[in-house]
């Protein structure tokens, strides 16, 4: 509909008198003077019409006085008028992602992945973009290492230099807000943390060169709430005792 009107008004401006008279816009009025652009357009129009002549002539002849009336385009059933999310059955996905709060950090999406993954990849050269722009050499098959090639992996004993030590340490995990949960001391230690903490807690005996890894239980805050609980438990008892003492004093005075 809008295309029809736009073509009508657009070509009428170019054609001038013939168009205006066919639509009945003031047949008695003198035609407006054609501007140079419109003249060139009018000169160009006939060849274009000549190219599309057979297709346009028939409808023009049939649809008098609407000579330039074209058929409406075939309506597409799927338009913006329909809710595309329900059309493509994405309601569940929409509620899942937009209904709830999605956490910002990458470590929330991949909680079991070790290392500092929340840092931008450009800092340590581990970005996926660089992998796409400079893909590694592929095509060679993976063959297991033989004894001769394994000699290159003979390492010196002792700890790593300090500049390489922090690569495997995970970011500190947030403590849960619910401190009153009783199952806290029984929380299973995540598998990823035992080894990292063994790394931190190795003890070097002065007499031998062997290291004795010890397991570090990740419960530094467990003692604090217990102590706090004890204090809180003590406080109401203390208050009761104080009240009782006051009552006794009052009775004695009376």
């Amino acid at each position: 509909m809008t295309e029809m009107f736009s073509t009508l008004y657009g070509q009428n401006e170019a054609q001038g008198p013939p168009g205006s008279s066919s639509l009945g816009f003031g047949p008695g009025k003198p035609p407006p003077p054609l501007q140079p652009n419109q003249v060139t357009m009018a000169a160009q129009m006939p060849p274009q019409h000549g190219d599309e002549g057979p297709a346009l002539r028939k409808p023009g002849a049939m649809n008098e006085p609407f000579y330039l009336l074209r058929e409406l385009p075939v309506g597409n059933e799927l338009t913006g008028n329909t809710n595309l999310i329900t059309h493509y059955n994405l309601e569940h996905a929409y509620n899942k992602f937009c209904g709830k709060k999605v956490k910002e950090k990458l470590s929330n999406f991949l909680p079991e992945l070790p290392g500092m993954i929340d840092c931008p990849g450009t800092q340590d050269g581990s970005s996926l973009r660089s992998l796409i722009e400079k893909p590694p050499v592929c095509g060679n098959s993976f063959s297991p290492l033989t004894g001769a090639s394994l000699t290159g992996f003979r390492l010196h004993t002792g700890p790593l230099p300090e500049q390489y030590r922090l690569m495997h340490i995970q970011p500190p995990k947030k403590k849960s807000k619910n401190k009153h949960k009783h199952h806290r001391p029984q929380d299973p230690i995540p598998q990823g943390n035992t080894h990292t903490h063994t790394q931190i807690q190795t003890h070097h005996h002065p007499t031998s060169f062997e290291t004795v890894p010890c397991v570090f239980t990740e419960n530094p805050s467990d003692s604090d709430p217990k102590k706090k609980k004890k204090k809180r438990d003590d406080d109401p008892d203390r208050k009761k005792k104080k009240k009782d003492k006051k009552k006794k004093k009052v009775r004695l005075l009376c």
Partner: protein, 134 residues
């Protein structure tokens, strides 16, 4: 489909765990750890072989590059999905508003043209048929 992803995910997790254990061994290396390290190195190679096999099943999967930008920034890629859905809904509402406005304009224009050019509009309606009510 989900099985292919589960298979790949499992292999990747094992691979990452193996690498992590290698890092622990290497960080404070002892002579007795050499055999374990060699074993881990070969596990790493078999892990890469397993991941290579998974690649053949997933060659038709396309991932938008914008999701990679989220990962490179250390952000949750689910935020990309969320923003896509929100943008789609906003655009859907915008287009629906345009369609509704144009439909109302069409009906109003036809009614007004019918008042000014009644004969022409009856001819037009005869050609195009009665327009559906907006």
């Amino acid at each position: 489909m989900a099985e292919k992803f589960d298979n790949l995910e499992e292999h990747l997790e094992k691979f990452v765990e193996n690498i992590r254990q290698m890092g622990i061994i290497v960080s404070d290396f002892q002579p007795s750890s050499q055999t374990g390290l060699n074993q881990k190195l070969n596990y790493m190679i078999t892990g890469l072989q397993d991941i290579e096999k998974c690649r053949q099943q997933l060659h038709e999967i396309n991932i938008p590059l914008e999701a990679f930008e989220y990962i490179d920034q250390g952000r949750n890629p689910q935020l990309y999905t969320k923003e896509c859905l929100e943008r789609a809904l906003a655009k859907n509402e915008q287009v629906k508003g345009k369609i509704d406005t144009m439909t109302k304009f069409k009906s109003l224009l036809i009614s007004e043209l019918g008042k000014v050019f009644p004969e022409e509009m009856t001819k037009y309606k005869a050609i195009h048929g009665d327009d559906p009510p907006s």
